[in-house]
Protein backbone atom coordinates (compact mmCIF):
# COMPACT_ATOMS: atom_id res chain seq x y z
CA UNK A 1 0.00 0.00 0.00
CA UNK A 2 1.66 3.16 -1.18
CA UNK A 3 0.20 5.29 1.57
CA UNK A 4 1.58 3.10 4.31
CA UNK A 5 5.02 2.41 2.90
CA UNK A 6 5.53 6.06 2.12
CA UNK A 7 8.85 7.44 3.22
CA UNK A 8 8.71 10.27 5.68
CA UNK A 9 10.86 13.35 6.01
CA UNK A 10 10.57 13.30 9.76
CA UNK A 11 12.86 10.94 11.71
CA UNK A 12 10.09 9.19 13.62
CA UNK A 13 12.15 6.08 14.22
CA UNK A 14 14.47 8.15 16.40
CA UNK A 15 11.57 9.48 18.39
CA UNK A 16 11.15 8.03 21.87
CA UNK A 17 8.06 10.07 22.62
CA UNK A 18 5.78 7.67 20.75
CA UNK A 19 7.35 4.44 21.97
CA UNK A 20 4.57 3.71 24.45
CA UNK A 21 1.71 4.76 22.25
CA UNK A 22 0.99 1.27 20.86
CA UNK A 23 0.96 -0.20 24.37
CA UNK A 24 -1.30 2.49 25.75
CA UNK A 25 -3.56 2.12 22.76
CA UNK A 26 -3.55 -1.66 23.17
CA UNK A 27 -4.70 -1.28 26.76
CA UNK A 28 -7.41 1.22 25.84
CA UNK A 29 -8.67 -0.89 22.96
CA UNK A 30 -8.65 -3.94 25.20
CA UNK A 31 -10.89 -2.11 27.68
CA UNK A 32 -13.05 -0.76 24.87
CA UNK A 33 -13.48 -4.23 23.34
CA UNK A 34 -14.58 -5.79 26.60
CA UNK A 35 -16.91 -2.91 27.34
CA UNK A 36 -18.38 -3.09 23.87
CA UNK A 37 -18.88 -6.84 24.12
CA UNK A 38 -20.53 -6.31 27.49
CA UNK A 39 -22.85 -3.68 26.10
CA UNK A 40 -23.82 -5.95 23.23
CA UNK A 41 -24.39 -8.91 25.54
CA UNK A 42 -26.56 -6.80 27.85
CA UNK A 43 -28.47 -5.40 24.93
CA UNK A 44 -29.08 -8.85 23.45
CA UNK A 45 -30.11 -10.16 26.83
CA UNK A 46 -32.47 -7.28 27.40
CA UNK A 47 -34.16 -7.57 24.03
CA UNK A 48 -34.48 -11.35 24.23
CA UNK A 49 -36.08 -11.20 27.62
CA UNK A 50 -38.08 -8.20 26.67
CA UNK A 51 -39.61 -9.99 23.73
CA UNK A 52 -39.69 -13.43 25.27
CA UNK A 53 -41.08 -12.64 28.66
CA UNK A 54 -42.88 -9.39 28.79
CA UNK A 55 -45.73 -10.70 26.70
CA UNK A 56 -46.18 -13.85 28.67
CA UNK A 57 -47.64 -14.95 31.91
CA UNK A 58 -46.63 -18.15 33.55
CA UNK A 59 -49.19 -20.14 35.44
CA UNK A 60 -47.86 -22.67 37.86
CA UNK A 61 -50.00 -25.51 39.11
CA UNK A 62 -48.80 -27.48 42.13
CA UNK A 63 -47.98 -31.12 41.58
CA UNK A 64 -50.89 -33.41 42.24
CA UNK A 65 -50.86 -36.84 43.90
CA UNK A 66 -51.15 -38.66 40.57
CA UNK A 67 -51.14 -38.05 36.87
CA UNK A 68 -54.89 -38.00 36.63
CA UNK A 69 -55.16 -35.11 39.08
CA UNK A 70 -52.49 -33.24 37.13
CA UNK A 71 -54.38 -33.68 33.88
CA UNK A 72 -57.64 -32.57 35.41
CA UNK A 73 -56.09 -29.48 36.97
CA UNK A 74 -54.33 -28.54 33.75
CA UNK A 75 -57.54 -28.93 31.73
CA UNK A 76 -59.47 -26.74 34.18
CA UNK A 77 -56.81 -24.04 34.17
CA UNK A 78 -56.49 -24.04 30.39
CA UNK A 79 -60.20 -23.72 30.03
CA UNK A 80 -60.30 -20.67 32.27
CA UNK A 81 -57.30 -19.10 30.54
CA UNK A 82 -58.61 -19.61 27.05
CA UNK A 83 -61.84 -18.01 28.02
CA UNK A 84 -60.14 -14.96 29.50
CA UNK A 85 -59.98 -11.74 27.56
CA UNK A 86 -56.56 -10.59 26.24
CA UNK A 87 -55.13 -14.09 26.18
CA UNK A 88 -53.79 -15.13 22.82
CA UNK A 89 -52.23 -18.50 23.27
CA UNK A 90 -52.04 -21.05 26.02
CA UNK A 91 -49.36 -23.75 26.04
CA UNK A 92 -48.88 -26.46 28.60
CA UNK A 93 -45.16 -27.18 28.90
CA UNK A 94 -44.38 -30.90 28.59
CA UNK A 95 -42.82 -32.37 31.77
CA UNK A 96 -39.47 -32.83 29.98
CA UNK A 97 -39.17 -29.09 29.43
CA UNK A 98 -40.18 -28.31 32.98
CA UNK A 99 -37.44 -30.64 34.14
CA UNK A 100 -34.92 -28.82 31.93
CA UNK A 101 -35.97 -25.49 33.31
CA UNK A 102 -35.48 -26.71 36.84
CA UNK A 103 -32.17 -28.37 36.18
CA UNK A 104 -29.97 -25.42 37.14
CA UNK A 105 -31.64 -25.41 40.55
CA UNK A 106 -32.25 -29.07 41.18
CA UNK A 107 -29.25 -30.53 39.36
CA UNK A 108 -29.37 -34.24 38.54
CA UNK A 109 -32.31 -34.72 40.87
CA UNK A 110 -34.52 -33.08 38.27
CA UNK A 111 -34.04 -36.10 36.07
CA UNK A 112 -35.64 -38.45 38.51
CA UNK A 113 -39.02 -38.95 36.93
CA UNK A 114 -40.48 -39.88 40.29
CA UNK A 115 -40.02 -36.35 41.54
CA UNK A 116 -43.38 -34.62 41.58
CA UNK A 117 -43.13 -31.65 39.27
CA UNK A 118 -45.39 -28.65 39.13
CA UNK A 119 -47.10 -28.02 35.83
CA UNK A 120 -46.30 -24.87 33.97
CA UNK A 121 -48.53 -23.15 31.47
CA UNK A 122 -47.13 -20.46 29.20
CA UNK A 123 -49.70 -17.83 28.43
CA UNK A 124 -49.11 -15.37 25.63
CA UNK A 125 -51.02 -12.21 26.22
CA UNK A 126 -51.81 -9.18 24.22
CA UNK A 127 -50.12 -6.34 26.09
CA UNK A 128 -52.63 -3.84 24.84
CA UNK A 129 -55.55 -5.73 26.28
CA UNK A 130 -54.04 -7.03 29.49
CA UNK A 131 -56.38 -9.49 31.15
CA UNK A 132 -57.59 -8.48 34.53
CA UNK A 133 -54.89 -10.31 36.43
CA UNK A 134 -56.49 -10.28 39.83
CA UNK A 135 -59.73 -11.76 38.55
CA UNK A 136 -57.91 -14.34 36.50
CA UNK A 137 -55.77 -15.40 39.45
CA UNK A 138 -58.89 -15.60 41.61
CA UNK A 139 -60.64 -17.84 39.08
CA UNK A 140 -57.62 -20.11 38.73
CA UNK A 141 -57.21 -20.42 42.52
CA UNK A 142 -60.79 -21.46 42.86
CA UNK A 143 -60.39 -24.16 40.19
CA UNK A 144 -56.90 -25.29 41.21
CA UNK A 145 -55.94 -24.53 44.80
CA UNK A 146 -52.35 -23.34 45.05
CA UNK A 147 -52.20 -22.09 41.47
CA UNK A 148 -49.83 -19.15 41.01
CA UNK A 149 -49.64 -16.57 38.27
CA UNK A 150 -46.30 -14.90 37.46
CA UNK A 151 -46.62 -11.74 35.52
CA UNK A 152 -43.10 -11.39 34.12
CA UNK A 153 -43.84 -7.97 32.73
CA UNK A 154 -44.13 -6.49 36.19
CA UNK A 155 -40.75 -7.49 37.54
CA UNK A 156 -39.19 -7.65 34.08
CA UNK A 157 -39.71 -3.97 33.55
CA UNK A 158 -37.67 -3.24 36.67
CA UNK A 159 -35.08 -5.76 35.65
CA UNK A 160 -34.97 -4.42 32.12
CA UNK A 161 -34.52 -0.91 33.42
CA UNK A 162 -31.49 -2.10 35.39
CA UNK A 163 -30.14 -3.83 32.29
CA UNK A 164 -30.61 -0.72 30.21
CA UNK A 165 -28.81 1.47 32.74
CA UNK A 166 -25.94 -0.99 32.86
CA UNK A 167 -25.88 -0.76 29.09
CA UNK A 168 -25.81 3.05 29.22
CA UNK A 169 -22.95 2.97 31.72
CA UNK A 170 -21.11 0.63 29.36
CA UNK A 171 -21.57 3.03 26.47
CA UNK A 172 -20.34 5.88 28.65
CA UNK A 173 -17.22 3.94 29.66
CA UNK A 174 -16.64 3.12 26.01
CA UNK A 175 -16.83 6.79 25.05
CA UNK A 176 -14.55 7.79 27.91
CA UNK A 177 -11.98 5.23 26.81
CA UNK A 178 -12.20 6.73 23.32
CA UNK A 179 -11.65 10.23 24.68
CA UNK A 180 -8.72 9.04 26.80
CA UNK A 181 -7.17 7.40 23.73
CA UNK A 182 -7.56 10.58 21.72
CA UNK A 183 -6.02 12.54 24.60
CA UNK A 184 -3.03 10.20 24.69
CA UNK A 185 -2.54 10.67 20.97
CA UNK A 186 -2.76 14.45 21.33
CA UNK A 187 -0.02 14.49 23.97
CA UNK A 188 2.19 12.08 22.07
CA UNK A 189 1.80 14.11 18.90
CA UNK A 190 2.59 17.35 20.72
CA UNK A 191 5.70 15.76 22.18
CA UNK A 192 6.64 14.66 18.67
CA UNK A 193 6.20 18.19 17.38
CA UNK A 194 8.63 19.37 20.03
CA UNK A 195 11.17 16.66 19.24
CA UNK A 196 11.05 17.38 15.51
CA UNK A 197 10.88 21.14 15.79
CA UNK A 198 14.09 21.78 13.89
CA UNK A 199 13.16 19.47 11.01
CA UNK A 200 9.70 20.99 10.82
CA UNK A 201 11.18 24.47 10.63
CA UNK A 202 13.44 23.46 7.76
CA UNK A 203 10.48 21.85 6.01
CA UNK A 204 8.47 25.00 6.49
CA UNK A 205 11.27 27.17 5.15
CA UNK A 206 11.54 25.00 2.06
CA UNK A 207 7.87 25.61 1.39
CA UNK A 208 6.10 22.65 2.99
CA UNK A 209 2.43 23.16 3.72
CA UNK A 210 1.19 22.32 7.19
CA UNK A 211 -0.92 19.64 5.51
CA UNK A 212 2.21 17.96 4.16
CA UNK A 213 3.79 17.82 7.62
CA UNK A 214 0.52 16.84 9.30
CA UNK A 215 0.03 13.97 6.85
CA UNK A 216 3.32 12.42 7.91
CA UNK A 217 2.41 12.67 11.59
CA UNK A 218 -1.05 11.31 10.88
CA UNK A 219 0.17 8.24 9.00
CA UNK A 220 2.73 7.56 11.69
CA UNK A 221 0.08 7.87 14.39
CA UNK A 222 -2.32 5.65 12.45
CA UNK A 223 0.29 2.91 12.12
CA UNK A 224 1.02 3.02 15.87
CA UNK A 225 -2.71 3.09 16.61
CA UNK A 226 -3.39 0.10 14.37
CA UNK A 227 -0.57 -1.85 15.95
CA UNK A 228 -1.94 -1.11 19.42
CA UNK A 229 -5.51 -1.86 18.39
CA UNK A 230 -4.49 -5.22 16.92
CA UNK A 231 -2.85 -6.16 20.21
CA UNK A 232 -5.79 -4.91 22.26
CA UNK A 233 -8.43 -6.61 20.15
CA UNK A 234 -6.67 -9.95 20.04
CA UNK A 235 -6.19 -9.98 23.81
CA UNK A 236 -9.82 -9.02 24.32
CA UNK A 237 -10.93 -11.74 21.89
CA UNK A 238 -8.98 -14.31 23.86
CA UNK A 239 -10.58 -13.18 27.10
CA UNK A 240 -14.06 -13.22 25.54
CA UNK A 241 -13.60 -16.68 24.05
CA UNK A 242 -12.26 -17.96 27.35
CA UNK A 243 -15.24 -16.43 29.12
CA UNK A 244 -17.63 -18.04 26.65
CA UNK A 245 -16.04 -21.43 27.15
CA UNK A 246 -16.21 -20.99 30.89
CA UNK A 247 -19.90 -20.08 30.80
CA UNK A 248 -20.65 -23.03 28.54
CA UNK A 249 -18.66 -25.34 30.76
CA UNK A 250 -20.42 -24.19 33.91
CA UNK A 251 -23.73 -24.96 32.30
CA UNK A 252 -25.11 -21.46 32.39
CA UNK A 253 -25.66 -21.73 28.67
CA UNK A 254 -29.43 -22.00 29.12
CA UNK A 255 -29.61 -18.34 30.05
CA UNK A 256 -30.67 -16.59 26.89
CA UNK A 257 -28.29 -14.19 25.15
CA UNK A 258 -25.11 -14.87 27.08
CA UNK A 259 -23.24 -15.99 23.98
CA UNK A 260 -21.76 -13.05 22.08
CA UNK A 261 -23.71 -12.34 18.97
CA UNK A 262 -22.11 -11.99 15.57
CA UNK A 263 -22.88 -8.27 15.73
CA UNK A 264 -20.81 -7.94 18.90
CA UNK A 265 -17.84 -9.67 17.29
CA UNK A 266 -18.12 -7.47 14.24
CA UNK A 267 -18.25 -4.37 16.45
CA UNK A 268 -15.14 -5.48 18.32
CA UNK A 269 -13.27 -6.14 15.07
CA UNK A 270 -14.40 -2.75 13.71
CA UNK A 271 -12.49 -1.18 16.61
CA UNK A 272 -9.36 -1.79 14.52
CA UNK A 273 -10.18 0.60 11.66
CA UNK A 274 -11.94 2.90 14.13
CA UNK A 275 -8.77 3.20 16.22
CA UNK A 276 -6.69 3.76 13.09
CA UNK A 277 -9.03 6.50 11.99
CA UNK A 278 -9.10 8.08 15.45
CA UNK A 279 -5.29 8.07 15.63
CA UNK A 280 -4.96 9.48 12.11
CA UNK A 281 -7.51 12.20 12.60
CA UNK A 282 -6.39 13.20 16.10
CA UNK A 283 -2.76 13.52 15.07
CA UNK A 284 -3.67 15.44 11.95
CA UNK A 285 -5.84 17.94 13.80
CA UNK A 286 -3.28 18.33 16.58
CA UNK A 287 -0.47 19.07 14.13
CA UNK A 288 -2.54 21.46 12.03
CA UNK A 289 -3.65 23.37 15.09
CA UNK A 290 -0.15 23.61 16.53
CA UNK A 291 1.47 24.61 13.25
CA UNK A 292 -1.15 27.26 12.59
CA UNK A 293 0.41 29.12 15.50
CA UNK A 294 3.93 28.92 14.04
CA UNK A 295 5.21 31.33 11.39
Amino acid sequence: MALLSRRTDLPFERDDSSRYLPWLTAFMVFLASLTLAGVFALSDLASTWDKGLSETLTVQLPAGEDERTDERRAAAAIKILEAAEGVEEVTLLPPRQVRDLLKPWLGAAADASRLPLPQIIDVEIDRDGIPALATLTEQLRRAVPGAAVDDHGAWMSGFLRALRSAEAIGVLIFLLVGVATAGTIVFTTRAGLGVHREVIEVMHLTGAHDRYIAAQFAVRSMMLGLRGAAMGISSAAMVLIALGVLVEFQGFGVLPGVDLSLGAWIAVVLLLPATGLLAWLTARITVLRSLARMV
Binding site: D9, V202, A208, H209, A292, V295
Partner: protein
Amino acid sequence: MDEIVRFQTVGLRYGMGPEVLQDLSFTLTPGSFHFLTGESGAGKSSLMRLMYLAKKPTRGSVSLFGRDIASLRHDDYPTLRRRIGVVFQEFRLLSHQTAFDNVALPLRVSGMREKEIKKHVEELLTWVGLEENMAAWPETLSGGQQQRVAIARAVIAQPRLLLADEPTGNVDDRIAARLLHLFEELNRLGTTVVIATHNKSLISSSLHPIMHLDGGRLSIEDRESEPAATVETLPRLGRL
Protein backbone atom coordinates in the same frame (compact mmCIF):
# COMPACT_ATOMS: atom_id res chain seq x y z
CA MET B 1 6.39 42.94 -10.79
CA ASP B 2 9.46 45.15 -10.71
CA GLU B 3 10.74 44.29 -7.28
CA ILE B 4 11.61 41.05 -5.61
CA VAL B 5 12.40 42.47 -2.20
CA ARG B 6 11.45 45.83 -0.77
CA PHE B 7 12.36 47.04 2.71
CA GLN B 8 11.01 50.29 4.12
CA THR B 9 12.50 51.64 7.36
CA VAL B 10 12.78 48.14 8.69
CA GLY B 11 13.95 47.53 12.22
CA LEU B 12 14.57 44.19 13.92
CA ARG B 13 15.25 43.27 17.50
CA TYR B 14 15.41 39.91 19.22
CA GLY B 15 13.15 39.82 22.25
CA MET B 16 13.86 42.80 24.46
CA GLY B 17 17.37 43.25 23.09
CA PRO B 18 18.70 46.21 21.10
CA GLU B 19 17.78 46.74 17.47
CA VAL B 20 20.22 44.67 15.46
CA LEU B 21 18.93 46.16 12.21
CA GLN B 22 17.88 49.80 11.96
CA ASP B 23 16.04 51.74 9.31
CA LEU B 24 16.78 49.42 6.44
CA SER B 25 15.32 50.69 3.19
CA PHE B 26 16.24 49.13 -0.13
CA THR B 27 14.83 47.37 -3.15
CA LEU B 28 16.11 44.30 -4.98
CA THR B 29 15.02 44.21 -8.60
CA PRO B 30 14.54 40.98 -10.56
CA GLY B 31 17.81 39.57 -11.79
CA SER B 32 20.00 41.62 -9.46
CA PHE B 33 23.04 40.10 -7.76
CA HIS B 34 24.41 41.44 -4.46
CA PHE B 35 27.08 40.52 -2.02
CA LEU B 36 26.21 41.19 1.61
CA THR B 37 29.13 42.06 3.84
CA GLY B 38 29.71 43.27 7.36
CA GLU B 39 31.61 42.24 10.44
CA SER B 40 30.62 39.23 12.44
CA GLY B 41 27.51 40.18 14.38
CA ALA B 42 26.66 43.01 12.01
CA GLY B 43 23.30 41.42 11.25
CA LYS B 44 23.82 39.67 7.89
CA SER B 45 22.07 36.50 8.94
CA SER B 46 19.32 38.54 10.59
CA LEU B 47 18.70 40.41 7.35
CA MET B 48 18.59 37.09 5.51
CA ARG B 49 16.04 35.76 8.02
CA LEU B 50 13.78 38.68 7.25
CA MET B 51 14.06 37.95 3.55
CA TYR B 52 13.33 34.23 3.84
CA LEU B 53 10.35 34.77 6.10
CA ALA B 54 11.79 33.22 9.23
CA LYS B 55 11.37 36.52 11.07
CA LYS B 56 9.00 39.43 10.94
CA PRO B 57 10.36 42.96 11.25
CA THR B 58 9.70 44.65 14.57
CA ARG B 59 9.01 47.86 12.66
CA GLY B 60 8.81 49.06 9.10
CA SER B 61 7.55 46.95 6.25
CA VAL B 62 8.95 44.12 4.17
CA SER B 63 7.52 43.19 0.78
CA LEU B 64 8.42 40.06 -1.14
CA PHE B 65 7.40 39.57 -4.76
CA GLY B 66 5.20 42.62 -4.40
CA ARG B 67 3.37 41.41 -1.32
CA ASP B 68 3.59 43.09 2.04
CA ILE B 69 4.36 40.25 4.43
CA ALA B 70 2.29 41.87 7.15
CA SER B 71 -0.77 41.04 5.07
CA LEU B 72 0.15 37.39 4.49
CA ARG B 73 -2.16 34.70 5.73
CA HIS B 74 -0.68 31.55 7.22
CA ASP B 75 -1.46 29.63 4.03
CA ASP B 76 0.40 32.11 1.84
CA TYR B 77 3.80 31.37 3.33
CA PRO B 78 4.53 28.09 1.52
CA THR B 79 3.76 29.68 -1.83
CA LEU B 80 6.23 32.52 -1.25
CA ARG B 81 8.86 30.31 0.36
CA ARG B 82 8.89 28.00 -2.65
CA ARG B 83 10.17 30.92 -4.68
CA ILE B 84 13.03 31.45 -2.25
CA GLY B 85 16.09 29.23 -2.00
CA VAL B 86 18.14 29.51 1.17
CA VAL B 87 21.64 28.34 2.03
CA PHE B 88 21.72 28.59 5.81
CA GLN B 89 24.94 29.64 7.48
CA GLU B 90 24.78 26.51 9.63
CA PHE B 91 23.50 24.41 6.67
CA ARG B 92 20.58 22.90 8.58
CA LEU B 93 20.76 19.65 6.67
CA LEU B 94 18.42 16.96 7.94
CA SER B 95 20.79 14.58 9.68
CA HIS B 96 18.57 11.53 9.24
CA GLN B 97 18.38 11.91 5.48
CA THR B 98 20.92 11.18 2.81
CA ALA B 99 22.43 13.92 0.69
CA PHE B 100 20.02 12.91 -2.05
CA ASP B 101 16.94 13.17 0.18
CA ASN B 102 18.08 16.50 1.61
CA VAL B 103 18.34 17.97 -1.85
CA ALA B 104 15.05 16.38 -2.88
CA LEU B 105 13.13 17.97 0.01
CA PRO B 106 12.00 21.18 -1.72
CA LEU B 107 10.76 19.18 -4.69
CA ARG B 108 8.95 16.67 -2.50
CA VAL B 109 7.14 19.29 -0.45
CA SER B 110 5.92 20.85 -3.66
CA GLY B 111 4.55 17.51 -4.81
CA MET B 112 6.86 16.57 -7.67
CA ARG B 113 6.89 12.93 -8.80
CA GLU B 114 9.74 10.76 -7.51
CA LYS B 115 10.91 9.88 -11.00
CA GLU B 116 11.45 13.50 -11.96
CA ILE B 117 12.93 14.28 -8.56
CA LYS B 118 15.53 11.56 -9.08
CA LYS B 119 16.56 13.00 -12.41
CA HIS B 120 16.87 16.59 -11.17
CA VAL B 121 18.63 15.77 -7.93
CA GLU B 122 21.16 13.45 -9.49
CA GLU B 123 21.94 15.97 -12.15
CA LEU B 124 22.50 18.78 -9.67
CA LEU B 125 24.50 16.72 -7.19
CA THR B 126 26.74 15.64 -10.03
CA TRP B 127 27.15 19.26 -11.04
CA VAL B 128 28.34 20.27 -7.57
CA GLY B 129 30.74 17.32 -7.57
CA LEU B 130 28.89 15.03 -5.18
CA GLU B 131 27.94 12.22 -7.54
CA GLU B 132 29.84 9.82 -5.27
CA ASN B 133 28.09 11.01 -2.12
CA MET B 134 24.41 10.92 -2.97
CA ALA B 135 23.62 8.17 -0.49
CA ALA B 136 25.85 9.58 2.24
CA TRP B 137 24.56 10.85 5.57
CA PRO B 138 25.40 14.51 6.19
CA GLU B 139 27.54 13.77 9.23
CA THR B 140 29.84 11.58 7.13
CA LEU B 141 30.49 14.44 4.72
CA SER B 142 33.20 17.09 5.06
CA GLY B 143 32.18 20.65 5.84
CA GLY B 144 32.64 21.66 2.24
CA GLN B 145 30.63 18.71 0.99
CA GLN B 146 27.80 19.50 3.41
CA GLN B 147 27.87 23.07 2.19
CA ARG B 148 27.44 21.93 -1.39
CA VAL B 149 24.51 19.73 -0.38
CA ALA B 150 22.97 22.79 1.29
CA ILE B 151 23.53 24.84 -1.84
CA ALA B 152 22.07 22.14 -4.05
CA ARG B 153 18.97 22.06 -1.83
CA ALA B 154 18.66 25.83 -2.11
CA VAL B 155 18.80 25.92 -5.89
CA ILE B 156 17.10 22.64 -6.86
CA ALA B 157 13.66 24.20 -7.27
CA GLN B 158 15.01 27.09 -9.37
CA PRO B 159 14.02 29.81 -6.93
CA ARG B 160 13.27 33.37 -8.01
CA LEU B 161 15.27 34.61 -5.03
CA LEU B 162 18.41 32.90 -3.77
CA LEU B 163 19.75 33.83 -0.34
CA ALA B 164 23.09 32.29 0.55
CA ASP B 165 24.61 32.90 3.98
CA GLU B 166 28.35 32.29 3.85
CA PRO B 167 28.03 29.66 1.12
CA THR B 168 31.76 29.41 0.55
CA GLY B 169 32.97 29.45 4.13
CA ASN B 170 34.13 25.85 4.09
CA VAL B 171 35.46 25.32 0.59
CA ASP B 172 38.72 26.15 -1.13
CA ASP B 173 38.99 28.91 -3.68
CA ARG B 174 38.60 26.59 -6.64
CA ILE B 175 35.28 25.23 -5.41
CA ALA B 176 34.24 28.71 -4.25
CA ALA B 177 34.74 29.98 -7.78
CA ARG B 178 32.74 27.06 -9.14
CA LEU B 179 29.91 27.77 -6.72
CA LEU B 180 29.95 31.44 -7.61
CA HIS B 181 29.69 30.34 -11.21
CA LEU B 182 26.60 28.28 -10.29
CA PHE B 183 25.02 31.30 -8.64
CA GLU B 184 25.81 33.47 -11.63
CA GLU B 185 24.36 30.86 -13.93
CA LEU B 186 21.13 30.93 -11.96
CA ASN B 187 21.24 34.71 -11.93
CA ARG B 188 21.51 34.73 -15.71
CA LEU B 189 18.35 32.63 -15.80
CA GLY B 190 16.59 35.36 -13.83
CA THR B 191 17.13 34.48 -10.19
CA THR B 192 17.77 37.39 -7.85
CA VAL B 193 20.80 36.55 -5.72
CA VAL B 194 22.12 37.77 -2.37
CA ILE B 195 25.29 36.22 -1.01
CA ALA B 196 26.48 37.06 2.49
CA THR B 197 30.18 36.51 2.66
CA HIS B 198 33.49 37.50 4.25
CA ASN B 199 35.37 36.05 1.30
CA LYS B 200 37.34 39.00 -0.15
CA SER B 201 38.63 37.14 -3.17
CA LEU B 202 35.11 36.00 -4.02
CA ILE B 203 33.88 39.58 -3.85
CA SER B 204 36.74 40.96 -5.90
CA SER B 205 36.37 38.27 -8.55
CA SER B 206 33.26 39.95 -9.85
CA LEU B 207 31.66 43.37 -10.07
CA HIS B 208 28.35 42.72 -8.32
CA PRO B 209 27.21 45.51 -6.01
CA ILE B 210 27.86 45.18 -2.30
CA MET B 211 25.36 45.63 0.49
CA HIS B 212 27.28 46.50 3.61
CA LEU B 213 25.97 46.28 7.16
CA ASP B 214 27.59 48.31 9.89
CA GLY B 215 26.10 49.08 13.28
CA GLY B 216 22.75 47.76 12.16
CA ARG B 217 22.62 50.12 9.17
CA LEU B 218 22.86 49.28 5.51
CA SER B 219 24.70 50.91 2.65
CA ILE B 220 24.95 49.74 -0.93
CA GLU B 221 28.01 50.10 -3.13
CA ASP B 222 27.45 49.76 -6.84
CA ARG B 223 30.80 48.88 -8.36
CA GLU B 224 29.94 49.14 -12.03
CA SER B 225 28.73 52.71 -12.04
CA GLU B 226 27.92 55.37 -9.48
CA PRO B 227 25.79 54.41 -6.42
CA ALA B 228 22.86 52.25 -7.33
CA ALA B 229 19.67 53.92 -8.42
CA THR B 230 17.68 52.50 -5.55
CA VAL B 231 20.01 54.11 -3.07
CA GLU B 232 19.62 57.56 -4.56
CA THR B 233 15.96 57.58 -3.72
CA LEU B 234 16.76 56.56 -0.15
CA PRO B 235 19.17 59.26 1.08
CA ARG B 236 19.69 57.63 4.48
CA LEU B 237 21.69 54.89 2.84
CA GLY B 238 24.10 56.91 0.79
CA ARG B 239 26.97 56.34 3.11
CA LEU B 240 29.63 54.97 0.74
